[in-house]
């Protein structure tokens, strides 16, 4: 089974187009900044008690989803774990609906019934948002299976962490994806937070080796490196070459979730100096190359902050779901 037609239909996702802009460094900077500011705001709302339960922030890992989004076509599918607010925004989901889901409101992406971990935007080809560690790998293989079945040239980009890489279903999925040459790219976001040692350098890129799935270790703090490697892997999948494992070396700055103070990480470990912040890094590049000046970037920041503020405002004031909504959406 292999993907045949390399020209998938484009559906015209306006918000995604706005998110990616022209795909130049300034647009990329803005995209990553939007995720960063959005997550900072989510952290604030959590601290204020507006967001309950779990809230897993993507701060520090922004270059990965933005790089993969730039490498993919609009109609390629994305699927991820519970740490996925960045994926939602990068696929073109409405920031207001994403934030309102976290506050459990009627205007939330899942009408308040899913929460931070369980959001889906099928109209943007985003398929969750999975709270069970590793579930998205086999589900993502199913999306890729559908692509191969239809021969529509789409590719599934599947994100999971170094912790999830230890789940048994990852090996089961690798086996099927390789056997059927499914058009899927496994993006392992190795933030080295998994205490088992799964995140040793280069280790995860080799996880597919037994299934003849090629792997690469990428600097996940460089949006350009991610974009390049992502483009190669996606093209390989689209042309019928089968799956690729991309191990993204990255760093998240916060605890596992906001309920986790990250006490298991040493202070000098929480912000490794050898891994420069992806947003800072791009900012310096933009300024030194003269692509934009400081004032321009400040204006972008203000623009992004206003989008996030509007989302927070909406999330705080959207009404709670109706009591009658409790029993709906169980079955169609």
């Amino acid at each position: 089974m292999a993907a045949a037609n390399p020209a998938p239909p484009e559906s015209g996702n306006v918000r995604l187009a706005a998110f990616l802009g022209d795909g130049d460094d300034v647009s990329i900077y803005r995209a990553m900044l939007l995720i960063r500011r959005f997550e900072e705001k989510a952290g604030q709302l959590f601290g204020m008690g507006l967001i309950g339960g779990f809230c897993h922030l993507y701060i520090g890992q922004e270059a990965i989803v933005v790089g993969m989004r730039l490498a993919a076509r609009e109609s390629d599918q994305f699927i991820a774990s519970y740490r996925h607010h960045g994926q939602l925004l990068a696929c073109g989901a409405d920031p207001r609906a994403v934030m309102a889901e976290m506050t459990g409101r009627r205007g939330g992406l899942s009408a308040g019934k899913g929460g931070s971990m369980h959001m889906f935007a099928p109209e943007c080809d985003y398929y969750g948002g999975h709270g069970i560690v590793g579930a998205q790998a086999s589900i993502g293989a199913g999306l890729a299976f559908a692509n191969a079945y239809r021969g529509d040239g789409r590719v599934c980009v599947c994100f999971f962490g170094d912790g999830a890489a230890d789940q048994g279903q990852i090996a089961e999925t690798f086996n099927m994806a390789a056997r059927w040459r499914l058009p899927i790219v496994f993006v392992i976001e190795n933030n080295r937070a998994q205490p088992s040692g799964a995140g040793r350098p280069g280790h995860l890129a080799r996880r597919g080796a037994a299934f003849d799935i090629p792997g690469e270790t990428i600097d996940g703090m460089s949006v350009e490196a991610v974009r390049e490697a992502g483009a190669r892997a996606i093209e390989r999948a689209r042309s019928g070459g089968g799956p690729t494992v991309l191990e993204m070396r990255t760093e998240r700055y916060r605890g596992h979730s906001l309920a986790d103070p990250a006490k298991y990480r040493r202070k000098d470990e929480t912000r490794a100096s050898q891994a420069p912040d992806p947003i800072e890094r791009l900012r310096e590049k933009i300024l030194s190359s003269g692509l934009a000046d400081d004032d321009h970037l400040k204006r972008l920041d203000a623009q992004v902050r206003s989008i996030v503020a509007e989302a927070a405002e909406y999330a705080a004031h959207s009404p709670e779901p109706d009591a009658a909504d409790l029993d709906t959406d169980v079955l169609i």
Partner: protein
């Protein structure tokens, strides 16, 4: 499991030379048995034609059982003079003649009278053969018809393709629909259940086969957390149109890890529909409905029913509504509620009681979730007594649920406590005598009914 067995009526030690001298050296080829439990089988294919010269050891035919295809070899050389069991004939009793081999040098006409007699002894008259269908065939027809109707329907599971299905449900599908739509999976229940969910998210209609629902426990996470909950978690944005199907419940002598009934587990979960048919017509109509349903459906088959024949409609669009029970037998004195294989037990118990003038109403639930309480309540309002039969464990079982609902909703209609006849509260034992005691029987149902009717045992 390819087993070669050949049976013959003439004494095995008869040497070929002497056989030729016998006045009637005709040899019957008999229906072989694969196991001591096997009572009958199907003649899948004749590889030789009438009039063909055959040598000892030549493969004459393929015979199909619940579990495997067997090749039938010629024990003697000669001419295949007459085929008694036509290709496709079902329910041929073990040890009944399926063909006649005559010695080369005998006139072909000599055993004809004998053959005619043997043909009359065949268990299936031709007319019956057309009107009746096994549960296995019904399921196969449902799959094939839905795959022809909708290009998004595909089948995936262990041994569904090349091997034609561990229980032959998918026989012939690979040949008709190809490997793209009949997909042999690795032994990876967890991940292929998840893969099915993903394919359903993308708009396909997966039918995922578990070789046994006992193995579906490996996939329980995706069944519950991914398939059942996504519609709700997405606020109605994303539905999962998927069918998980396969045999559930008891099987002869396979022990605790292959023979348990997990109906109650699945019926517990909001977001699933759970179906467990008894008859072939219901198996077909409900499987077609399940494939067309926009929700995840757990389709519980029963290995002991696969080979059972029932009258079946030939209508291509024979659909049975999910969520509707069927009053299989009307009665005024007591209500029996059962599903899947246990319906047969309840019917037999009802017949036995009928000889004493006690008329039991037998309800075949057909669907376990949603539960058709209207039919149950209507019957109990009439009879005032109820016995619920299931193979599963008693605690938290289907019977426990219905019993509680009857107490809540029909307390004033009840003239006796609701009784449950269930599988024993132990893992399934292997030993034949223990296994028998671990499963509900017709006698258990009769005894429970007598108690509910305040009659002497």
């Amino acid at each position: 499991m390819a087993t070669r067995e050949t049976h013959q009526e003439t004494p095995q030690e008869t040497p070929q030379e002497t056989r030729h001298e016998m006045t009637d050296a005709t040899t019957f080829v008999l229906m072989p048995a694969l196991s001591p439990e096997m009572k009958s089988g199907k003649l899948a294919k004749w590889l030789k034609r009438e009039g063909d010269r055959v040598d000892a050891g030549d493969i004459l035919a393929e015979v199909e059982t619940d579990k495997a295809t067997m090749e039938v070899e010629a024990a003697e050389s000669g001419v295949l003079e007459r085929i008694l069991a036509p290709e496709g004939a079902e329910n041929i009793a073990v040890n009944s003649p399926i063909a006649v081999i005559a010695p080369d040098d005998l006139p072909a006409s000599s055993p004809l009278a004998l053959c005619a007699q043997a043909a009359n002894d065949l268990p299936e008259a031709e007319e019956e053969f057309v009107l009746r269908i096994t549960v296995r065939e019904a399921l196969r027809e449902a799959l094939a018809e839905e795959m022809r109707r909708d290009a998004n329907v595909f089948v995936l599971g262990e041994e569904v393709g090349d091997s034609q299905g561990a229980f032959r449900i998918t026989q012939g599908l690979l040949q008709e629909f190809g490997a793209r739509r009949v997909v042999d999976s690795p032994i990876s229940e967890h991940a292929f259940a998840g893969l099915g969910v993903g394919a359903a998210m993308a708009g396909l209609r997966p039918v995922i086969e578990f070789m046994s629902f006992n193995f579906a426990l490996q996939a329980m996470d995706h069944i519950v957390n991914s398939a059942a909950k996504t519609l709700y978690m997405s606020g109605g944005a994303l539905n999962i149109p998927i069918v998980f199907r396969g045999p559930n419940g008891s099987r002869a002598r396979v022990g605790a890890q292959h023979a348990q009934d997990f109906s109650a587990w699945f019926a517990h979960i909001p977001g699933l529909k759970v179906v467990a048919p008894y008859t072939a017509a219901d198996a077909k109509g409900l499987l077609k409905a399940a494939i067309r349903d926009p929700n995840p459906v757990i389709f519980l088959e029963h290995e002991k029913l696969y080979g059972q024949s029932f009258p079946a409609p030939r209508d291509k669009d024979h659909l049975v509504e999910i969520g509707a029970a069927n009053i299989f037998r009307a009665g005024r004195d007591i209500t029996f509620i059962a599903f899947s294989h246990a319906v047969g037990l309840a019917l037999k118990a009802a017949e036995r009681l009928s000889e004493e003038g006690i008329e039991a109403e037998v309800i075949d639930l057909r669907t376990l979730r949603p539960l058709d309480m209207n039919t149950i309540l209507g019957s109990v309002a009439k009879t005032g007594r109820c016995v619920i039969v299931e193979e599963g464990w008693p605690r938290g079982g289907i019977g426990a649920e219905i019993s509680a609902r009857l107490m809540e909703e029909a307390f004033d209609d009840l003239d006796a406590p609701v009784a449950r006849v269930t599988g024993r509260d132990v893992p399934m034992p292997y030993a034949g005598n223990l296994e028998k005691r671990a499963l509900p029987t017709e006698a258990d149902i009769v005894a429970a009914a007598r108690k509910a009717l305040y009659l002497k045992a």
